[in-house]
């Protein structure tokens, strides 16, 4: 248990992930399944989540953020790497021990309709976990736990005898949250908890998650593609690109001083509901689409689309996460980009850009100074 307390920062680390890799084999052939390659969904991720805090994971679809969340809970077996939860190594834990650990780490899914059994009523959905873990001796004490949980998530008591289809989307997501809460977990992994909901309902659920954290001291790993939502609820945000973290920073700092080119582009792409902000800011458009994770680019994964890509190092040397003033960034040139040293070079890229080419690193605009585009 001694490694739980980080000696350097004195932080109480609940989850520590070291060099986690999840590779899915690509198989071909009818009689003999030949493995012809691997989709590197998660390819070397290190992160630590402090107890009682929220870690937000953002990235575009296909960047491996959901796989990372599932691998952390051992729902998808990791290919290599280590995951320690409160000092216990999960990857090598015996199945029955792992099952008892699961009580302490729960998951909330994106689509509440497909993650709830349509033939189970709410009471049975909530009791199942309690029975499996042998919590609450008899029916009455279980009922007591369940009704307390219902109060916490803001559902009425009579919801118990109803079925998922009788609820609206927001209420269904509350049932999903109640199912995770009923076991009294310490860590909750929320995979796109609000993206299936309408705007006005999203806010209700986001506020609920905030409240629960304040009241119960929960630790969250929130996975979402919506940067605004993640920034709103997270203390620390990690940005993923093609299976790896490219930047990790406190959420305010990530917004005011994004260091990685991808983070900058991502930040400038999120629409803000304010015409003044929208008119003032300059967009950094990154061209083209996410490369295939089965055949990721050499060197820095982002160099094929990076507006700041340099002729040296970027294409052949994979950048490690480095500490720069409180953020961790995987970019060889982060300091030079932040100081504006590399900006001039970028302008020349803009001029020589072939018209209508979508796949070359074609840059439209650069921030006048770091972090000033919003």
């Amino acid at each position: 248990m001694s490694e739980r307390i980080d000696r350097l920062s004195g932080e109480d680390v609940l989850v520590e992930v070291r060099d986690l890799k999840v590779h899915f084999p690509i198989k071909r052939g009818v009689l003999f399944d030949r493995t012809v390659g691997h989709v590197k969904a998660v390819d070397g991720v290190d992160l630590r989540i402090t107890r009682g805090q929220t870690y937000g994971l953002v990235g575009e679809s296909g960047c491996g953020k959901s796989t990372l969340g599932r691998a952390l809970l051992q729902l998808t077996p990791p290919t290599s790497g280590e995951v320690s939860f409160d000092g216990v190594e999960l990857t090598t834990l015996a199945p029955n021990k792992l099952r008892t650990m699961r009580r302490r780490m729960q998951m909330i899914f994106q689509d509440p309709m497909s993650s709830l059994d349509p033939r189970q009523n709410v009471e049975s959905i909530l009791t199942e976990g309690l029975q499996a873990h042998g919590i609450g001796g008899d029916r009455n004490s279980r009922r007591k736990i369940i009704s307390e949980t219902l109060d916490q998530v803001g559902l009425p008591r009579w919801a118990l005898s109803r079925y998922p289809h009788e609820f609206s989307g927001g209420q269904r997501q509350r049932i999903g949250i109640a199912r995770a809460l009923v076991l009294g977990p310490e860590l909750i992994v929320a995979d796109e908890p609000v993206s299936a909901l309408d705007v006005s309902i999203q806010a209700q659920v986001v506020n609920l998650l905030d409240e629960l954290q304040d009241n119960l001291g929960l630790t969250y790993l929130v996975i979402a593609h919506d940067l605004a939502v993640v920034r709103h609820i997270s203390d620390t945000v990690g940005v993923m690109y093609l299976g790896a973290l490219v930047e990790e920073a406190p959420s305010d700092r990530l917004y005011t001083e994004p260091l990685h080119p991808y983070t900058r582009a991502l930040m400038s792409a999120v629409p803000v509901p304010d015409p003044d902000v929208e008119d003032r800011r300059e967009r950094i458009l990154i061209a083209g689409d996410l490369p295939s994770p089965a055949n990721p680019p050499s060197g820095c994964r982002f160099h094929t689309r990076c507006p700041w890509a340099q002729p040296t190092r970027c294409a052949d040397e994979r950048p490690e996460l480095r500490d720069i003033g409180g953020s961790r960034v995987a970019c060889h040139w982060a300091e030079q980009i932040a100081s504006g040293e590399l900006r001039r070079h970028k302008v020349s890229v803009e001029i020589t850009r072939p018209a209508g080419e979508g796949e070359d690193p074609s840059v439209v605009s650069a921030p006048t100074e770091p972090g000033s585009f919003v």
């Binding site: 609820f167 989307g169 209420q171 806010a203 986001v206 605004a228 990154i286």
Partner: protein, 371 residues
């Protein structure tokens, strides 16, 4: 004279043994040439049905009733027969849909789908059509267009598919483009690319654009005029800056309060709208938003709220709007138009499969899910 004038558009779906559903109820808005107009609202508010009705794309089924006018350049699109409507559709008015994969034909190469438009409306054939199609793909930023022409939709990425769809829509340089949630299915960086492309197209060709979306951020960056819809009605119309700076209708206020903003601090609480979109009053009995509204007064219930037109060219449909600083309530009103409603019908959002057994508990699934 506006390019498109939608007046009192109503769409009702009647089914035997059930209450008539009023998906769109008296929607009026106009689009000037070269203007970008936004229709904003949550799922079920009637924004998509409005666009489908204008384009004449609603499935012809018994019980469907479309009333009102949609005057495009002097012709009422709703009165046209199918033949002449097909001439206008694609040539003068074009549409971009939300999900590019389901709106492209999966078994026909991209090239054929683009040249089909050119052949139908511009009479181009063979090599000339192929050349033009390649130019179109090039214009919307698809690299190596000659090769892409031979490819099938599944071979393209989501962003590229949406670009192909836009290429088809702008093939005949339409004067009006209707984009129904064009970026909802896309990632944020791809969304930025597509929005930038749409902006360029509008700026370069003077095409008017009707942007249908649920994302207030998208609207803030693109639209000149914004219509906010709730329960099948336009509840507020305003230019972009006034709407975001001083929203008047409580629903607009609520929407703006519930969106987490990228430039807001951590821990600032959101102010969500209580309840769900399914809690609403049928229009004849009062304002549909009344059950969720924090500015509700007695006058909200009983009869539909009047449309108030203000001196500064805005309008809202609210009895007790959010106050403006320095103005006595009611002083800014220039004209009021009484709300109309057909008795007995219910808004689409309120259609339950079976009546809710307890207050606040609605029945039908998937009504709140973002399209």
């Amino acid at each position: 004279m506006a390019l498109l004038d939608v007046e009192d558009l109503s769409v009702t779906f009647a089914r035997r043994g059930q209450r008539t559903v009023r998906a769109v109820d008296g929607v009026s808005f106009s689009v000037e040439a070269g203007e970008v107009v936004g229709l904003v609202g949550e799922s079920g508010c009637g924004k998509s049905v409005t666009s489908l009705a204008i384009m004449g794309l609603l499935p012809k089924q018994p019980g469907l009733q479309v009333a009102g006018k949609a005057v495009f350049d002097g012709t009422d699109l709703l009165q046209l027969d199918d033949r002449s409507r097909r001439d206008i559709r694609g040539r003068d008015v074009a549409m971009i849909f939300q999900d590019p994969l389901s709106s492209l034909n999966p078994v026909v190469p991209i090239g054929l789908q683009v040249t089909e438009v050119l052949t139908r409306h511009r009479g181009m054939k063979g090599e000339a059509a192929a050349k033009e199609a390649a130019q179109l793909l090039d214009r919307v930023g698809i690299p190596d267009p000659r090769r892409r022409l031979k490819e099938y939709p599944h071979q393209l990425s989501g962003g590229m598919r949406q670009r192909a769809l836009i290429a088809m829509a702008v093939a005949c340089q339409p004067r009006l483009l209707i984009a129904d949630e064009p970026t909802t299915a896309l990632d944020v960086t791809i969304q930025a690319q597509i929005l930038e492309l749409l902006k360029d197209l509008v700026r370069d060709s003077g095409t008017a654009l009707v942007m249908i979306t649920h994302d207030l951020g998208v609207v803030a960056g693109m639209c000149d005029t914004i219509n906010v819809l709730y329960g099948g009605r336009v509840v507020e119309t305003a230019r972009r800056r006034p709407l975001f700076r001083q929203p008047r209708h409580p629903y607009t206020v609520g929407l703006l309060g519930s969106v987490p903003r990228l430039d807001a601090g951590r821990g600032e609480r959101l102010n969500p709208i209580p309840g769900s979109v399914r809690d609403l009053l049928p229009w004849p009995d009062g304002c549909a938003f009344a059950p969720r509204c924090d500015r509700r007064v007695d006058a909200c219930v009983g009869e539909p709220p009047d449309l108030v037109l203000t001196h500064d060219g805005r309008s809202y449909r609210c009895v007790n709007p959010a106050p403006l600083p320095g103005l006595t309530p009611g002083a800014e009103a220039r004209e009021t138009r009484p709300g109309q409603a057909t008795p007995g019908s219910v808004p689409a959002q309120a259609v339950p499969d079976d009546p809710p057994a307890a207050p606040g508990l609605a029945a039908a699934p998937s009504e709140e899910e973002t399209p």
